[in-house]
Structures are given as structure tokens and as C-alpha cells.
């Protein structure tokens, strides 16, 4: 346990978590997460990493996830890169996200083949329409839950409104909306943090 810790002096995972997976374990562990997660795999990632295999403590999980959520990109993929790097360096950082994606990717491509063959049938179309309605409802629920979690709503919810106006109504390109929005919203947050 001592040599990898010298390699990553600031990696809390070195000193606190009890197990160090090899590449095979990383691949299989993240495969199980990818394949069991329906509608968001984060809870499954937490169960595997913290409860079952003890590759991280709950505290480490929260900190690392915090970083992933602060960065763009698929959170779970980012998390798997971090966990892979912590335990097995470059190889781990490649193998962990591959494990996460490989199984679901094959399933999704098989579904795509089915869709290409049968997707034009009226029955398939109406089934997918029903699922899309549920999917849309789940997204509204997710937006609602995240919106309720925002502190200082009068200050920050207007930025939600502006984003919806720019993206959904005006159909402006998202990279520009995000750059300008983040400058404004982050600027307000910076000012607010200074006043506390």
C-alpha cells in the first residue's frame, strides 16, 4: 500500500479505502454498474464503489462526485476515469470507463438494429411514443428536483429562465449561451460568496 501512495501524494483514496482493484476488477466492477443502471447509474456506482467493493469511502465518493458535477461531460464517465487513475494509473483510467460503456453499448446497438428493422411498424412507434412521454416527464421531474435544491432562488432562478428562453424558445447555439450564462451566473455567485 505504500508505493502507490507515494505516487499520488494527494490521493485520499490511498490512505483511506481498504481495497485496491486490479484492471480486471476495475473493468468488471464498472461493467456491473453500467449494466444495472436504468435511468441514471450514479446510485449504482455509489453502491459498488462505497458499499460493496469499498474502493472509496463515502466521503471520498462525495468529494470526487462534486468535482465531476462541477465539470462538463458525463458525470459517471468522469468519475470512472478518476477512480481508474487513482488505483491503476493510465491503464486504469482507460479500462474503468470502457467497462462502464462496453456492455450497455452493445445492448443499445442491438436495440438500434431492432429499431432499424421494426421501428417503422405502427405498434413500435406508439410504444416509443409512450416511453418518450414518460421520459419527458422524468426530465421535468429532474429539473424540478434540481431547481428546488438551488439556494438563493430569487437570485439564481432567473438564470434558469434565461437559459430556457435562449435554448428552448430562441434556439440559440448552446456553447455561446453557456459561456455567457456561466460568466453572468458565476459572477453573481462570486459576488454573493464575497458578501457572506
Amino acid at each position: 500500500m505504500t508505493s502507490p501512495c507515494k505516487k499520488y501524494p494527494r490521493g485520499a483514496a490511498c490512505t483511506e479505502s481498504q481495497n485496491r482493484p486490479d484492471l480486471r476488477a476495475l473493468f468488471l466492477g464498472f461493467s456491473s454498474v453500467g449494466l444495472s443502471g436504468f435511468g441514471g447509474v450514479l446510485p449504482f456506482a455509489r453502491r459498488m464503489l462505497v458499499d460493496e467493493r469499498k474502493w472509496m469511502t463515502a466521503e471520498e465518493f462525495n468529494t470526487q462526485l462534486g468535482f465531476c458535477q462541477f465539470l462538463p461531460g458525463p458525470n459517471v464517465i468522469n468519475l470512472s476515469v478518476i477512480v481508474g487513475k487513482r488505483h491503476r494509473g493510465v491503464a486504469g483510467a482507460i479500462v474503468a470507463p470502457l467497462g462502464l460503456l462496453a456492455g450497455p453499448l452493445v445492448i443499445v446497438l442491438l436495440l438500434a438494429l431492432l429499431y432499424d428493422r421494426y421501428g417503422s411498424l405502427p405498434l413500435a412507434q406508439s410504444m416509443l411514443r409512450g416511453i418518450a412521454a414518460v421520459g419527458s416527464g422524468l426530465l421535468f421531474a429532474m429539473a424540478w428536483r434540481m431547481g428546488m435544491a438551488i439556494k438563493d432562488k430569487p437570485l439564481f432562478l432567473p438564470f434558469t429562465g434565461l437559459t430556457v428562453a435562449a435554448i428552448a424558445a430562441l434556439r440559440w447555439p448552446m456553447p455561446w449561451v453557456m459561456v455567457v450564462g456561466l460568466a453572468l451566473s458565476g459572477g453573481v455567485a462570486y459576488w454573493r460568496l464575497g458578501r457572506k
Binding site: G73, P74, L101, V108, G130, A132, S136, G137, L139
Partner: protein, 173 residues
């Protein structure tokens, strides 16, 4: 440039603004893929979203499906790589340094500032799916029920998806 190359570049650019994950990118992917390039139509786009919802795995796989429909296997792999690779490399290179930024004022400001934008993006994605699928009153009712059930109970979303599929098959939505 080939379609696969274009797809890769478009999605790689998007991956840098994917605050809130691939779900937050739905409106922009629709803009790029359906409105700008006409690679897919509205109906196919909503179908692909529905398939991704019903399949296991990270949300990012909707990107794989879009890539597949646009340019086959090469498109699927290019789109997935474009979405995952750039930030993975950035994170790999910078994670150790970033940990030293924890708790800094500007870092907290970005975390706080990103959240309301991500909410707006996901809300836009939800309305976009509804618009593209041209929901009638029955579908909107299902949207509302799904939202209420998901917010008020701990029922696993998979049951809701199964119910949506069943209602769809019965021709009720």
C-alpha cells in the same frame, strides 16, 4: 468532410459545455442533428431518446444511438468517443491539481453558477421531446402523472417506462 468526421467534431465541441451531463445536451443535439444538418427527423430523434431511456447504462448512450442512425457503426463509435474522450483526458491530466482548488471562492462560484443553467437545459430538453413528438392531451397527461409519481414516490423509473410502453402499445398516448 465526411459525416463521421463532422459528427465527431460537433459532439466533441458540445462535450465541453455538457454541464449537467449528456441529458443537458438534448436541445443542442437536436439543434445540430435535426435542424442544422438534417441528419435525422423529429420523430426519429424522440424515438432514439425513448430507446436510450429504456436501455440500461449511462445517459450518454443516447449519443451512441444518434451516431448510429446518422452514420452506422462508425458514427456510433465516433459520437460516443467525441462525447466522452475530451473531458476524460482533461480530467486525467488535471484532477490532482483540481483537488487543491477545493473550497476556493471561484470554484464554489462556478458550482453555484452552473446549477441554474443545468436546470434550464434539462427543462428545455423535456419541452423539446414533447414538442418534437407532437404530444396530444393524453401524452401530456402521462407527462404530468410521471412527474408527480417520480417526485412523490420512490417507485423505480423503470416501472414508469414500462407503463408508458404499455399505454403506448394500447394506443392510448
Amino acid at each position: 468532410m465526411s459525416v463521421v468526421g463532422e459528427l465527431f467534431l460537433e459532439f466533441a465541441l458540445l462535450s465541453f459545455v455538457a454541464f449537467g451531463g449528456a441529458t443537458a445536451l438534448l436541445p443542442e443535439m437536436h439543434r445540430v442533428v435535426v435542424e442544422n444538418h438534417h441528419w435525422l427527423d423529429d420523430t426519429t430523434f424522440t424515438h432514439l431518446y425513448a430507446i436510450a431511456q429504456a436501455a440500461p447504462g449511462p445517459n450518454v448512450l443516447v449519443v451512441t444511438l444518434i451516431g448510429w442512425e446518422v452514420a452506422g457503426l462508425a458514427g456510433a463509435l465516433a459520437a460516443t468517443l467525441a462525447m466522452c474522450l475530451p473531458m476524460s483526458v482533461v480530467i486525467y491530466l488535471l484532477i490532482d491539481r483540481w483537488e487543491g482548488f477545493a473550497g476556493k471562492r471561484w470554484q464554489k462560484a462556478i458550482s453555484l453558477g452552473v446549477a441554474p443553467l443545468a436546470v434550464g437545459l434539462i427543462f428545455s430538453g423535456a419541452t423539446l421531446i414533447a414538442q418534437a413528438a407532437e404530444f396530444g392531451w393524453a401524452a401530456w397527461a402521462l407527462v404530468a402523472v410521471t412527474m408527480a409519481v417520480n417526485l412523490r414516490t420512490k417507485l423505480h423509473p423503470l416501472w414508469l417506462i414500462a407503463a408508458g410502453a404499455a399505454l403506448g402499445l394500447l394506443g392510448l398516448v
